[in-house]
């Protein structure tokens, strides 16, 4: 066991996958020579060569579209889009081809690829570098969309995504790359996609979140505990498929739920979670399900991002209000 942060855990997973299967290739802007802007692919080009760890031209649609062709042609590409705000030029390829080829060809062809996308704010980056637009992927039939929040999950879910016979959008919370460390077992290990993780058990209210917001939500739970409120914290990990059973069971028990995400509120994935929960637990609910989210604004630049991002205090305040209903 080695203590690894998320960036290192992903690097480890890629290393293992490249070593194990000669059909695995890594492609993206700057993933090779310089190891990616977050150094997540550091060292891989030296180890596996420029043919398998491919520095691409600056062309996101090309990366995904060419990667798609590679996948149909028998490779297992792990593609990197540098930031979520730069993923949109590839959106057409994702929606119209990656997500559809299996259905279009009734299983004759498939695109077993992974698209890694660093996402989320909190590092005071330039415009477009802080986006959290997972909802534009979760709405697309034919994609799996996952978001690890721990080094273990990052490694296990990435290897599961690479093994998966279908395309997986793999979102990496930028802010957590180096902020969370834990012991991660050596060697191949997979964490099944589609299972939520109960990060902390509690009785009074269920806090539901994913990705970078797990940290703030965990902190909120601590604040709440200090005020005598026992919060259960659930990290979805997988948005599609969604582990609605775990959520439903929890909310039926607590009768209260707060959903936390940093994406804009309107049409964020939290809306889907709220819609499903009211379907499943309406008569268990003692209070309306609340959403604590980014606002329906452009993600602000450095000097204002603290006005935007949900923090532990905002989450705890919402949960407290929910308790008061």
């Amino acid at each position: 066991m080695t203590v690894r942060n998320i960036a290192q855990a992903i690097n480890d997973a890629l290393d293992l996958a490249l070593a194990k299967d000669s059909d695995v290739v890594v492609m993206g802007e700057d993933v090779g020579r310089t190891g990616g802007v977050f150094r997540v692919t550091d060292g891989l080009r030296d180890r596996y060569g420029a043919d398998r760890v491919i520095d691409s031209p600056v062309a996101e649609s090309g990366i995904v579209g060419v990667g798609f062709g590679m996948a149909v042609g028998g490779l297992k590409p792990v593609l990197e889009l540098q930031f979520m705000g730069f993923s949109y030029p590839a959106y057409d390829q994702v929606v119209n081809h990656v997500a559809r080829i299996r259905n279009r060809s009734r299983h004759r062809f498939s695109a077993p690829l992974v698209i890694r996308i660093p996402y989320g704010g909190g590092i005071g980056a330039a415009e477009h570098h802080s986006e959290s637009m997972e909802a534009i992927y979760t709405h697309v039939p034919g994609l799996k969309v996952v978001v690890p929040a721990t080094p273990y999950d990052a490694k296990g879910m990435l290897l599961a995504a690479i093994e998966d016979p279908d395309p997986v959008i793999f979102l990496e919370p930028i802010r957590l790359y180096r902020a969370v460390k834990e012991e991660v077992p050596e060697g191949w290990l997979t964490q099944p996609l589609g299972e939520a993780r109960v990060e902390r058990e509690g009785e009074d209210v269920t806090l539901i979140t994913w990705g970078a917001m797990t940290k703030e939500t965990r902190e909120a739970a601590v604040l709440l505990e200090e005020n005598g409120i026992s919060a259960e914290v659930i990290d979805l990990r997988s948005l599609v498929p969604l582990d609605i059973e775990t959520l439903t069971e929890s909310v039926q028990r607590t009768g209260r739920a707060v959903i936390v995400h940093e994406a804009p509120r309107t049409g964020g994935f939290g809306a889907e979670v709220a819609a499903l929960l009211q379907e499943n637990c309406l008569f268990d609910l003692a209070a309306p399900i609340r959403r604590v989210t980014g606002w329906d604004t452009v993600f602000p630049l450095k000097r204002s991002e603290h006005h935007y991002l949900p923090g532990a205090a905002r989450i705890a305040a919402a949960a407290t209000q929910v308790m008061e209903v």
């Binding site: 798609f68 590679m70 042609g73 057409d92 279009r104 498929p241």
Partner: protein, 340 residues
């Protein structure tokens, strides 16, 4: 513009193909035209959803596809039925797709042809990926992609060409410049004098050929394929041809183009010049023509029968090819859909 066979059936230079092979490709073009005309007719009877005819482009499609090896990849469009069929895509599946059945997109396992691309431009990058995969896996197959003059305006054309050239991918870009993108004439699509010259932007060879000349198409494509297979990278071919029919059966070309132009192109019919060539060599006869037309009609009719005979997908089946195995939420929705 490179040409071997003139409209009057004479050779400008030596033929790259034996007469017998030319005769077989002529037969294939007759098949293609028969299929194409029946497609239009079927749509008019309401039996196909829409149909995009390729009449006038038979030499471009048949001549180029004839140069492929059986396991070479192909990524083509809604208008490339003849090329796809040449590479093994069953006619009945082409037709099934047009009736509105997803199973039309599922060619047999040995047929290395993607279902036709309906989006314009998006599939050229796929061919680059396919060719590249073959290269990395040490396979000797190459990839060919078919697209129109309109598709060259999409950003994805640019990205495909650039990736292919940078990584010296074994693939061939085969553009059928048929004069129109729906209602937009080629001259307003782009100001470059030829589409072939767009290759210069990528440091790739580009060549403009008479797309209605079976032999020029064959030879040029063959050379490009050999370059690709030999590790020398991609080529752009511009086959200058013409869409004699409407864009699709829903289109009315009378709104945007003069009949005169179409008539002019009819006189450059890609089948006729081969017929003249064969006739000159006394390997064409009226009776043979009737015979192959009959064979073609029978084969197409059989394909139609098979396509229309497929029992429609049930409500549950629309879920069954979304993923390799059904995730829980889809299983629930499937149950909801089928219980109704």
């Amino acid at each position: 513009m490179f040409q071997i066979l003139t409209p009057s059936g004479a050779l400008n230079q030596e033929s790259p193909l034996e007469v017998e092979m030319i005769r077989r490709l002529y037969r294939a073009m007759v098949f293609a035209r028969t299929y194409d005309r029946k497609g239009t007719a079927l749509q008019k009877q309401g039996r196909l959803a829409t149909y995009a005819p390729f009449e006038g482009q038979e030499a471009a499609q048949v001549g180029s596809a004839a140069a492929l090896d059986p396991d070479d990849w192909m990524a083509a469009t809604y208008r490339d039925g003849a090329a796809m069929w040449m590479q093994g895509y069953p006619l009945e599946l082409l037709l099934a797709g047009r009736t509105g059945d997803e199973r039309g997109g599922s060619p047999p396992v040995h047929v290395p042809v993607l279902p036709p691309s309906i989006t314009v431009g998006g599939h050229m990058v796929h061919a680059v990926g396919l060719g590249w995969a073959a290269k990395l896996r040490g396979e000797s197959r190459i990839a060919i992609t078919y697209f129109g003059d309109g598709a060259t305006s999409e950003g994805d054309f640019h990205e495909a060409m650039n990736f292919a050239a940078v990584f010296s991918v074994p693939c061939v870009f085969f553009c059928q410049n048929n004069g129109w993108a729906i209602s937009l004439p080629r001259e307003e699509q782009t100001r470059s004098e030829t589409i072939a010259q767009k290759a210069i932007a990528y440091g790739m060879p580009g060549v403009q050929i008479d797309g209605n000349d079976l032999l020029a198409v064959y030879q040029t494509t063959k050379e490009a394929i050999e370059r690709a297979r030999g590790g020398e990278g991609p080529t752009l071919i511009e086959a200058v041809t013409y869409r004699l029919g409407p864009h699709t059966t829903a289109d009315d070309p009378g709104r945007y183009r003069a009949e005169g132009l179409t008539e002019e192109w009819r006189r450059r019919d890609p089948l006729e010049r081969v017929r003249l060539f064969l006739s000159e060599r006394e390997v064409w006869s009226q009776s043979w023509q009737q015979q192959i037309e009959k064979e073609a009609a029978e084969e197409v009719d059989l394909a139609i029968e098979r396509a229309e005979g497929m029992s429609p997908l049930g409500p549950g089946e629309i879920f069954d090819a979304m993923f390799e195995s059904l995730p829980p939420h889809l299983a629930r929705q499937r149950a909801e859909a089928t219980q109704q």
